[in-house]
Subunit: 596 residues, 2 copies
Amino acid sequence: MPSYTPPLRDMQFVLHEVLNVVDELKMLPPYADIDADTINAVLEEGGKFCAEVIAPINLSGDKEGCQLDKTTHEVTTPKGFKEAYQTYIDGGWAALACDPAYGGQGLPLLVNQCFYEMLNSANQAWTMYPGLSHGAYECLHAHGTDEQKKLYLPKLTNGQWTGTMCLTEPHCGTDLGLLRTKAEPQADGTYKITGQKIFISAGEHQLAENIVHLVLARLPDAPAGSKGISLFIVPKFNVNADGSLGERNGIFCSGLEHKMGIHANSTCQMTLDGAIGTMVGQPNKGLAAMFVMMNTARLGVGNQSLGLTEVAYQNAVAYAKDRLQMRSLSGPKAPDKPADPIIVHPDVRKMLLTARAYAEGARALQAYTVLQADKSISSDDEDERKEAEAELALLTPIIKAFITDNGWIATSHCMQVYGGHGFIHEWGMEQFVRDARINMIYEGTNTIQSLDLLGRKVLGNNGATLKKFGKKIAAFIEEEGTNEAMQEFINPLADLGDKVNKLTQELGMKAFGNPDEVGAAAVDYLRVVGHMTFAYFFARMAKVALEKEGSGDPFYRAKLATARFYFAKLLPETASLIRTARAGLKPLMEMDEALF
Amino acid sequence: MPSYTPPLRDMQFVLHEVLNVVDELKMLPPYADIDADTINAVLEEGGKFCAEVIAPINLSGDKEGCQLDKTTHEVTTPKGFKEAYQTYIDGGWAALACDPAYGGQGLPLLVNQCFYEMLNSANQAWTMYPGLSHGAYECLHAHGTDEQKKLYLPKLTNGQWTGTMCLTEPHCGTDLGLLRTKAEPQADGTYKITGQKIFISAGEHQLAENIVHLVLARLPDAPAGSKGISLFIVPKFNVNADGSLGERNGIFCSGLEHKMGIHANSTCQMTLDGAIGTMVGQPNKGLAAMFVMMNTARLGVGNQSLGLTEVAYQNAVAYAKDRLQMRSLSGPKAPDKPADPIIVHPDVRKMLLTARAYAEGARALQAYTVLQADKSISSDDEDERKEAEAELALLTPIIKAFITDNGWIATSHCMQVYGGHGFIHEWGMEQFVRDARINMIYEGTNTIQSLDLLGRKVLGNNGATLKKFGKKIAAFIEEEGTNEAMQEFINPLADLGDKVNKLTQELGMKAFGNPDEVGAAAVDYLRVVGHMTFAYFFARMAKVALEKEGSGDPFYRAKLATARFYFAKLLPETASLIRTARAGLKPLMEMDEALF
C-alpha cells in the first residue's frame, strides 16, 4: 500500500519564503490577524488527518467501489468512508475557509487549498465528497437569497450536508446550451424539476444527512441555448423553514457509472421526477451563477492532480531507493549488494525529477493563484479586487489543464519506475494514474480550458491581462539582471517570455483571419504559457534557494537541483510546442471528414 | 461497445504499394510461390475472424476477468474465450507462419504480423494466449533438440497446446542475473525445478490441453549472474514419449495478479515445486536461447500498441462524427442540427490525426521490420541474412518503445475525444488506454529498450548499423531530390537525418567520458530515431500517394493529408527531444539520493 507524508516543508517554503503570503493576507480585512504559526499549525494538523485517516482507505476504496441499492436508490460508499467523514466534520475541517457568519473558521482560501492538496494526495475519490460541497457553498454564498443562505450555508459549512453540481446530461456536457431538464414554476414560488443528469460526482451517498444539489434547468418560457438556463437548489430531503429535514425529494440516483478511476466516488446518473427546487439568482442567468462554482472547481481539479503527482512521486522515490536491479553503467554504486538501487540509473531519476518538478511548480503556481482568489474576494480596494480577479481568470485554465496534463505524465512516470509492479493494483501506483485521468476531462475538458485561455482570456482582451502578468515577470527579470547566479534561470525565462509575446501576436493575427486558428493552436499555446508560469516560479524559488543555500539546510540544495532539472529537461518542450502551434490550422483541416 | 473494421486497405497499401513485399518474399526460398492474392485472402479472412469472433468478447472479458480456483489451481478465462480459442484452432490460425515440417502453413512472419495487428485491435488480452505460444514455438524451433521439436512443435503449431515464458521473479525482472529458481539434474537426464515466478502471462487457463512453460533456472553449479542461467521446458502435464499427456507436473498457478488492464489475460504467480523439466540448448546459455523468444515478443508488443491505436482511432472517429456539441468557431457547419459534430473542432481533429498518423507510421515500420525478420531467417544468402538480422536488431527496440509510447498517447487522445464518456467502461475507450499501458513495461521496459538501442545497437558497433539504415534514407532522398512535390517531405527528413548523425556522434563522445551519459539521453534519443523512421516511411508512402492521387481513389488524398499532418504536428517533437538529450547527465545527478 502506498504511503504519504504531507509536504509541509515545501508548502511553508512556497507560502512564507517565496510568496510571503502572511504580509499579503494581512492587507485583506478578514485576515488582518493571520500569522504564519496559525497557518502552519492548521496544515500540520490537516496533514496528519490526511495521512492517518484518509490515505489508509484509498486503495481499499478503489477496490471496493460504491454500491447502489436499486430499490431504495441509496448508495453505500466503501468501508471506512463514513467514519472518516465523521472525523472530518468533528475536526471542523469542513468549515476551514467558510464565512464565520455561518459558522466557518474564516481562514483564507489559500490555507484550504493547501489542505486540499493533502486530501487529494491521500484519497482523491474520498475528497470529492466534501470537495463538491465547497463549490456549492461558494455558489450559494455568492448568489443565494438571505433565506437560502440561512437555510443551507450553516450545514454546508459544518459538513452535516454535502453539495453537488448537476450540469451534464447524456447529450450535453461541454455544450450546456443544449440541456433539456425542465423547471415548472409552482404557485408557492418553488419549481418542479424533471430531467436526467449524468456524471454527478457524489450525487448520492450515506455520508451526510442531506445532499444539496445545484441543478441547471430550463424554465418553460426560456430562450433556447445557454441564455435560457436557470439554477436551482434541489435538496435530497426537502428542508423545512426551521432547517429540519422534510420529505424525500424527487431526485434520486438511477445508476452508478463504472469508471476508469475514482471508483470510490459515486458518479451518479440522477433522475429528477418533479423534484422541488428553489431558484438561485435570476431566471435564465443560471450559467453565470454556476460559473462561480465551476471556477472554484477548476482550481480544485488542478489541485487534485498536484496531490496525485506528489503522492506518486513520494512512493516512486521510496521504491527506487529500495529496489535493487542492474548496476550503474558507470560502475557499481552499492557493491555490497547484489545490484544497485534503481535510483542510480539516470532515466529513473529523470522520471522521478519530472514528477517532483511538476509537483513543486504546480504548488507555487496554485498558491500564487489562490492568493489572487483571496484578494479578489476580500480586498477592500476595488482596483486590487479587479486586478486579482483578472489574473485569477487568466491562470485558472492554466492550472486546470497544464497541471492535470502534467499529472497524467507524472503519475505514469512514477508507475513506470515500478516496472511490472506498477501495473499491479496492490502497489497503488496504477490507481494514481487512473484517478489522474479524469482530471483532464471534467469541469471542462483541457481543450475547452485552452480555448478559454487563448480565445477568451488572452485574445478576448487583446492580451491585456497576459501583458500585466508578463510585466511582473519582466520586473523580476530586471531585478535579477545583475545577479550572476540567477542568469541560468532568468535568461531562459526572458527568452520564453519574448517567444510567448511573439506567438500571442501571431495567433491574434491569424485568428483575425480565421477563428478556427484559435482552436488549432490553443492546446499547444496553453502548455507554452504554462511553462512560462512554471519557469517564473522556479526562478523565484531558485532566487530564495540561492540566498539561503549557505544556511546548510539541504532543502535549498534540493530546490536548486529541481529548478535546474526543470530548466534543462522540461522547459525545452516549448521548442516543439511553439513549432506545432505555429503550424496552424491547415494540416488539421486538409482531410475531408468522410476520409477520417 | 466499440466496433472494429480491419484496416485491410491500408495493410495492402503498405505491403504491396509501398514495400512491394511479394517481390521481396519471392526471393526467399520458402516463399518462392507467394502472391498478393494469397496474402490478401488470408488477411481478409483473418480480419473477419478478429472482428466477428474476438472483438465482441473484449469489453466483457475486461469486466469479468479471470478466476483462480485456489484448491485446484485452475484458472477460468472469461465467457466466450474458450469457444473463440477453439474457433481459432479450427480455422488453422495458430499454424499460419509455422514450419510445414510440423504441420504449419508456412506463410511469412509478415503475414502473421498483420493478422496479429488485427487480433490485438480486437482483443489484446485474448490474443496473448496464442501470442505467447508463438514465442515458445520459435524458441524451441531454434534451440530445441530433434526430440523436443517432435514432441512439442506440432501441438504448439496447431494450437492444441499453448506456451509461456517464465522469466520474472519477485526480486528480479529487468535484472535476470539475480534469478534464484533452481534446476537439479536427475539420473534420467531431466531436471527438478523449484522456485517462484511472477507476471507469467497466460500462465494457467483452460483454453488448451497443455501449457508448455519455458522456464529460466539455475543449475546447482552455475556461475553467478546472467551467465549461469539455463532454459527448460516445463509442461503443465508431463508429455510421454508418444506425445500423449502424462501426470500433472509440479508447476501451478499460486495467484492471479490484479492489474490495471488486460484483465482477461491470466497473469499468474507460478510456483514450481520439483517440476520436471528438460533443458533447451546448452547449460548456462539459457538467456541467449530465451532472447529468440524475447525479440519476437518485443515486436509483438509494438504490434499490440499498433492494434490498440488503430481500434481506438476508429471508434473515436465514429464518435466525433456522431456527437453534436458546440458550433465551429468559424461558423455553424451543420446548421440543421442543434450543434456541430465535434469533428469540426480543430483540436478534436488533432487528437484523431495523431492516433491515425501513429497507427499508419507504425504499420509501415512494423511491416518493413518483420520483412527483415523473414529475410534474416529464410534468405539463402548469408550476407543478406546477416544484414537483415542487424537491421531487425536495430529496429526492434524502436518498435517496442516508440510504438508503445505512441500507443499510450494515442489511446489517451482517443479517449479524450469522448469527453466524460471516455472515462466510462461501457464505451470501451478507457480499456484501450489501460491495456496499452502494460506494453510500455513488459518484455523489457521502454527505458531498457532505449539503452539497448543507443548503448548496444548504435554505439555498440560505432553506429555502423544505423549508418547503413541511414544510407537507405539518404538514397531515397537523393532519388526524390528533383521531385518538387516531394520537397515538403524529404527536406525535413534530410534535416532530421543530419541531426541524428550529429546527435549520435555527440552522445558517443560523451559516453566515452561517462557511460551514464547513455542512460541520460537514451529515452529521448530513441524517440528521435523513431521519428526519423516514421518520417522516412511517411515520405515513402507520400511518394506513392502523390503518384496515384490522380487515380481518383480518395485513399491517396487521405494518406497525403495524414503524412502532412505528421510532418507538421508530430515530427517537431524532435526539436525538444534533441535539446533534452543534449542537456545530458548533470541535471539528473545533481540531486543527492538522500534529498529525493
